[in-house]
Symmetry: C2
C-alpha cells in the first residue's frame, strides 16, 4: 500500500468514529453540533494516522487507539476554527469550503472551537473504556495533550505568531513558533499511540525526535510552497505569507537557505526513523511531506 | 467562621496555586501568560471552594485537591473571557476591570481562553501527583469535567443562550440554558472533590442534586438582581438583561413566579444538604447565594 492509500484507510476509520463522538441530530437544541461537524470535515487525518501507526509499531491494533486518535483530530480542528476567525488570521476558506465563522457566525465558531477542545479531552478519557489499556497510560496521554498544546505548546506558538506579524522576527522566534504551533501536536500524536502501547522511554524519545523533525519539515514545506510553489496549482499568489506580514524561513533566511533547512529536517527525520519499528511507514511519511512541494 | 471567611481562606490557598501553574515571567516570550493571569484575577473562587469542601466532607484534606480546584477555576475563567468577547456578549468590564480582550486584544483573549481550557485539564491530571490519589479517580474527574462543560454541558448552554437572544424563548429552553451554562460546572466542581475522596455513588448523587439546585438558584438570583435589585448598589440600570434581549425567569414568568422559583431551588438545595456530611457549610452556601439579592 502507498502512504496515500494508508491515509485513506485511516480516514475511513476515523471519520465515522469522530461522528460517533458528536451528539446525534436533535440531541442538543442548537447549531453548535453542526458547526463542530463542519469544523471536523475535510483534512488528511495526519494526526490520527500518526497515533494509530505508532500504536501499531509498538504492538497494539490501530483500531484500539481510535478514541485517542479522534481526540487529537478534534484538538487540531479546534485550532483551525479559532485561527480562521477575523480577530486572528481572518481566513474565509478552509479545506476549500467556507470557514466555520463564515458558514455559521463568529460566536458559534468560537464556541464550536471550545467544544472541540473539550471534546478532545473527553475522547482521550474514553480510551480507558478499551479493555487492556491501563488508566495510568490514558492519564499520561491526557497530561501530554495538555502539555503539548497549552501555554507551553501549540497555543503559545500561535500567540507568538500573531505578535510577530508585521515586524521583524528573529530566527529563534521563528523556530519557537514552528516548534510549538506545528511540531508539538505532531509529536504528541505520535507519542500517544506509543504511550498507550507501552513503548519504552528510549523509543518514545526517538519517536519524539522523529516527529519533531517531521513537524518542522511540514511547516517549512508550507512556507516554501508559498514562495516557490506553482501559483496555478497552489491557487494563491506567490508571496502571500510575506504580504500578510507572516514570518517564514524563506523570508528570514532566503530561499536557498530555507531549502537547505528543509533538507536538514528531512534527513534528521529519516535518521530517527532508522531506529523505529515499522520504519518504512515513518520514511514514507517524510517522502509524503517533501512531495507536497511539487 | 462565616462563609465569607471560609471563602477568603480558600481564595488565599487557590490564588498562589493558580499562579504556580502559570509559566514564570519570561518563560514564554509572549503576552499570553499576562492575559491568562488577568483572566484569572478577581472572582470568588466559588468552584474551587465547592471542590475543596466536598473533599473535606468525604474525608480528604482540602489542600490535597488544590490541583483540581485550580483546574475548575481555570475553566470557569476561560468561559468568562470568551463570553465577554465582542462576537458573544461584548462586555468591556469583568470584576470591575477591563475585560481581557480590552486590556489586551481579541486574538490574545481568544488564545488565553483556549490556553486556560487546556490548562484546566493539565491541572486535573497533575492531581495524580498527590500521593494516595488513585489514577482511576483522577481520570474520572477529567472525564466528568469534559462531560459537564463540553457539547453536552456548559458550552451548549452558552450556544443556546446566544441563539435565543432577541427572540421569544420557551421555559424549557431557559431551563436548559441555566442548567448547562451555570449549574453544570457547579455540579462538576462539587463532585470532583467527592470523587477524589472516594465518596459512594449515593452520596455523589445527593451532592449533584444539591449542587444543581444551588447552581439554578445562583442563576435565577442573578436574573432577579437585574430586575428588582437596587440600581444604586448593582450599578446597572434595572432591566439591562431584558434590554439586551436576554431570556430571564422574571421576563418569562413574571417577578412573583420567578421569586417563587428561586425559593423552590433554595428549598431543594437545603433538602439535599440534610443528607450530606458537613451539612452546615452546604446550608451556609445557600444562604450566601440568597443574600446576594439584598
Amino acid at each position: 500500500m502507498t502512504l496515500e492509500q494508508r491515509l485513506a484507510v485511516c480516514r475511513e476509520r476515523v471519520d465515522p468514529a469522530l461522528e460517533r463522538f458528536l451528539p446525534a441530530d436533535g440531541e442538543v437544541p442548537t447549531r453548535l453540533v453542526a458547526a463542530m461537524r463542519h469544523a471536523l470535515s475535510g483534512g488528511k487525518r495526519l494526526r490520527p494516522f500518526l497515533c494509530m501507526e505508532a500504536a501499531r509499531a509498538f504492538g497494539l491494533r490501530p483500531e484500539t487507539v481510535l478514541p485517542t486518535a479522534c481526540g487529537l483530530e478534534m484538538l487540531h480542528c479546534a485550532t483551525l476554527v479559532h485561527d480562521d476567525m477575523p480577530c486572528v488570521d481572518d481566513s474565509d476558506l478552509r479545506h476549500g469550503r467556507a470557514a466555520c465563522h463564515v458558514e455559521f457566525d463568529e460566536a458559534t465558531a468560537l464556541l464550536a472551537g471550545d467544544a472541540l477542545i473539550i471534546g478532545a479531552f473527553e475522547c482521550l478519557t474514553r480510551q480507558a473504556e478499551e479493555p487492556d489499556i491501563a488508566p495510568e497510560r490514558v492519564l499520561r496521554c491526557v497530561r501530554e495533550l495538555a502539555e503539548y498544546t497549552g501555554v507551553r505548546g501549540l497555543v503559545v506558538g500561535e500567540a507568538l505568531d500573531i505578535e510577530t506579524e508585521g515586524r521583524p522576527c528573529t530566527e529563534s522566534e521563528l523556530e519557537f513558533i514552528h516548534l510549538n504551533k506545528t511540531a508539538k501536536l505532531i509529536i504528541c500524536s505520535s507519542r500517544s499511540g506509543a504511550v498507550l502501547a507501552g513503548a519504552p522511554d528510549d523509543q518514545l524519545a526517538r519517536l519524539s525526535e522523529y516527529a519533531e523533525a517531521l513537524g518542522l519539515l511540514f511547516q517549512i514545506t508550507d512556507d516554501l510552497l508559498d514562495v516557490d510553489g506553482d501559483t496555478a496549482s497552489t491557487g494563491k499568489p506567490v508571496g502571500a505569507d510575506a504580504a500578510a506580514g507572516k514570518a517564514t524561513y524563506p523570508g528570514l533566511l532566503g530561499l536557498a537557505a530555507a531549502r537547505e533547512r528543509a533538507e536538514l529536517f528531512g534527513a534528521r527525520a529519516l535518521q530517527s526513523a532508522k531506529g523505529l519499528p515499522n520504519r518504512e511507514v515513518w520514511e514514507a511519511l517524510v517522502e509524503f511531506v517533501v512531495k507536497r512541494r511539487h
